[in-house]
Structures are given as structure tokens and as C-alpha cells.
Assembly symmetry: C2
Homo-oligomer: 234 residues x 2
């Protein structure tokens, strides 16, 4: 199983396919992309790592390193073509090709994701939702059909869906993952805070908001608990 929990919980037991780009760099690319799209909208044609670094609070060298992984080549003194750079990043990330996805768990979070049209700009197309709640099966949310869960495996197979999104309660996530695997889904974006047991070839990407919350609340707690001078010294 290719686990990647927010960069931090990649299974150290086995690393079958070490990435050709560091995870941190990979995760910075969308930042650059967003920034570059802004630049392009402003009519700016070329940009250097120094400029990007200044605007995004990163050291220029790191920016250059990150961009190098995408294969872009820049010109000394002038930097990179903004348009070319955007395209290179999009190609590198596979944002030019559409990934059709099924979402399971049409609750609070699921509804939010279903309603997020911008995902389509980044190659993500949620084509249908599934829910075990009979009240929800049959309704439409943000123009997407909500179907009963037992239809998933068959449909995924017939529609060649490769990506599954889990936004159901943690206790049901494993069952849902099993169903997805049965349907031939290759990758799972898991918003439930549990470790999924899936076959080795399945890509699992855990999106754990509690991890973030932990980081945030720790910092906040430290701020109000620890005296200033001690905080600086740590």
C-alpha cells in the first residue's frame, strides 16, 4: 500500500517506489501554480525564482530546485516564461488529464467537496456520490447524483473510475475502501481519520484535518502557556 498521510505518515516499513520528486516539493507546486496564474492574469510574461521567493516567502534556491523537478528550463537573467511554467506544472501534475472520481459519504464534508467546481480546473471531476443512508440515495447534490453504496463497485468498473474519495464516518471507511478496491479503484483520497487496509498497489492519500488541528492547537497552547523568553529559546 502506498500510504502518504500528509507527507508525514508514509509507511517506513517499505518504500516500493521512492518518488523522483520530494514530497515537500510536490506539495509546493500548486502554490507556485496559483501564484503564476495570478501573474499571467496581470499580464506578466516572465518571472524569476527570486521574485517568486520574495512573494511566496521562500528562499529562491528552493523555488529553483522545486521547479527543476518539473523539467522546466529557464534562461539566466530573465527567469522562466510564466505561461510555459504554468503549463509545465499542470502537465507534471497530470492536471491536463481528467481524473473521474466517486465520492462516498454525502454528508457535511462530502457536500462541500461536491460543490467545489474549481476542482475541475485541476483535473478532478467528481462524477457521482454514494451514501448508505436510504434518505440520501436518489437525491441530487450540486448536480451530482447520490446513489446507494452497493452500486459503487459495479459502476466504478464499468465507468473505469480510478479515484475514490471517502468522506464518511471513520468507522465505515474500511468497508467503503473494500468496496472501492472491488470496483477496481486505484487511488483513494481518504478524509476519515483512520488507517485503511488495502492491497499494496492501491494509492492511499489521507487527508487528516485533525493532524492540522493538532499542530495548530499545540502552537496556540504553547503561546499561552510558555513564557516568551522560554518560547524563543526552545
Amino acid at each position: 500500500m502506498v500510504i502518504d498521510m500528509n507527507l508525514s505518515i508514509e509507511s517506513p516499513l517499505k518504500r516500493p517506489d521512492a518518488p523522483s520528486i520530494p514530497q515537500p516539493s510536490l506539495r509546493r507546486l500548486p502554490q507556485y501554480h496559483h501564484y503564476l496564474v495570478d501573474l499571467e492574469a496581470k499580464g506578466i510574461g516572465r518571472v524569476s525564482c527570486s521574485t517568486i521567493g520574495r512573494d511566496l516567502n521562500l528562499v529562491p534556491i528552493q523555488v529553483r530546485k522545486d521547479l527543476q523537478y518539473t523539467g522546466i528550463i529557464g534562461k539566466p537573467k530573465t527567469g522562466y516564461s510564466v505561461t510555459e511554467l504554468i503549463l509545465t506544472i499542470e502537465t507534471f501534475l497530470g492536471w491536463n488529464n481528467v481524473n473521474e472520481a466517486f465520492l462516498v459519504g454525502a454528508g457535511n464534508l462530502g457536500t462541500a467537496l461536491l460543490g467545489h467546481e474549481r476542482f475541475s480546473k485541476f483535473g478532478l471531476q467528481i462524477v457521482a456520490a454514494f451514501d448508505s443512508d436510504p434518505q440520501k440515495a436518489g437525491i441530487w447534490i450540486h448536480n451530482k447524483a447520490v446513489l446507494p453504496l452497493d452500486k459503487l463497485a459495479d459502476l466504478a468498473q464499468r465507468m473505469s473510475i480510478h479515484l475514490g474519495i471517502i468522506t464518511a464516518p471513520a468507522e465505515n471507511a474500511q468497508t467503503i475502501a473494500d468496496e472501492m478496491v472491488k470496483g477496481g479503484i486505484q487511488a483513494i483520497w481518504n478524509f476519515a481519520p483512520v488507517k485503511l487496509n488495502v492491497p499494496a498497489h492501491i494509492i492511499v492519500h489521507n487527508e487528516d484535518l485533525y493532524s492540522s488541528l493538532a499542530s495548530l492547537s499545540w502552537k496556540l497552547a504553547r503561546r499561552f502557556r510558555v513564557p516568551i523568553q522560554e518560547r524563543e529559546a526552545v
Copy 2:
């Protein structure tokens, strides 16, 4: 500004307060917590790093390292007391104290967060929402009042709110952050995919779903693009 973008975009220009615990370890703690709560519910009283590692797909040594940061002390041969460990993690993360928060942007994502009661288990209490849309100001979402944005600064000050959550469109995020700072808010959980400019002492934690999506779609793209043998070799 203490920037932490998903572990990966911490500003390298200045590191005023290096953490006494590595970010990855910090982000793993909620995992352990979740797992331990399960164990406790099953009536299991003691647990070792080996067991945790086996169940969570981590090497035991890493588990031990992570737990050591919290200050817990275990007993050789038997491991740690589950209850004590849970309490230690909660205390370490500040989950015992309540963080009251304001949320700005009562749209898709904002509504999902407002409806997530489990946050209260982890010390996060969203007490009110704000929205610039006059249609939304005045209504209630998940039992939380939605107020006009211009009330934020004053209310934050009077209620001593220290945490702000931004779930508004990217283009308005900066304005909202400014307003939060004006209201004396100390930390911002930012779901909009932009870099915020705030004073140095403000903690900013960016939650960038697009980063995750990038990581996921890159892996997926690579899987379908790159031949197997090449993939293994990288």
C-alpha cells in the same frame, strides 16, 4: 509570521521559534490518539510501541520517538498505560483547553466545518460565523449565528477569541485576515489557497487541499503514464 503550510512551506527565511517537536511527529499524534481511544474503549489498559506500530503501519522506533516528545514515560516490557498516554497527548496538544474560534466564509466548506461537532472533542469550539453576503448575515447554520463581517474585529476583541478560520474565496482571504488581526486574533487556520501577509507574531496554518490533490494526481498520472519497470526503478 509563523507560517506552516502543511509542513512543507514553513518559511525558511526566518525560523524564530523552532519547534521542540518535529512537525511530522506532531502531526502523527492525533493518529495515536485516535487509535488509543479505540483501545481504551476495548478495555485494553496497556500498549507497547511495537503493537502501535504494527497496527498503524509505523516502525516501533518512530512511535517511541514521537511519544517521547510528549513527555510520557513507559515501563520496559509492558509499554505505556493507555489512559495515561491519551491524557498526556491531549494535554500536550492543548486539547484539554477550549479554543474558541470565529469562522469567516459560511459557504460550502465553512458550513461543513460548522457542522462538525467532533471538533469540540479536540478543544475547538467554533462560536460564530461571519459572511459578507447580506443574504447570509442573520441566518443560523448548524446552530451557529452568521454575522456580518464588520462585526468581527469588535466581537473578537470583546470575547477574547484567539483563533480564526478562513473558508472564504482566495481573493478575499487577505482582507479577512487583516480584520482578524485587528480583532486581536492570534492564530489563523486558512483554507484559502493563498499566502497571507500578517504580522510576525500571528500563527498561520494553511490547509491546502490543492497540495494534497497535486500529490495524489501526480501519483495517479505517473501510474498510468510510466511503464511499471521504470516506475519501480525511479
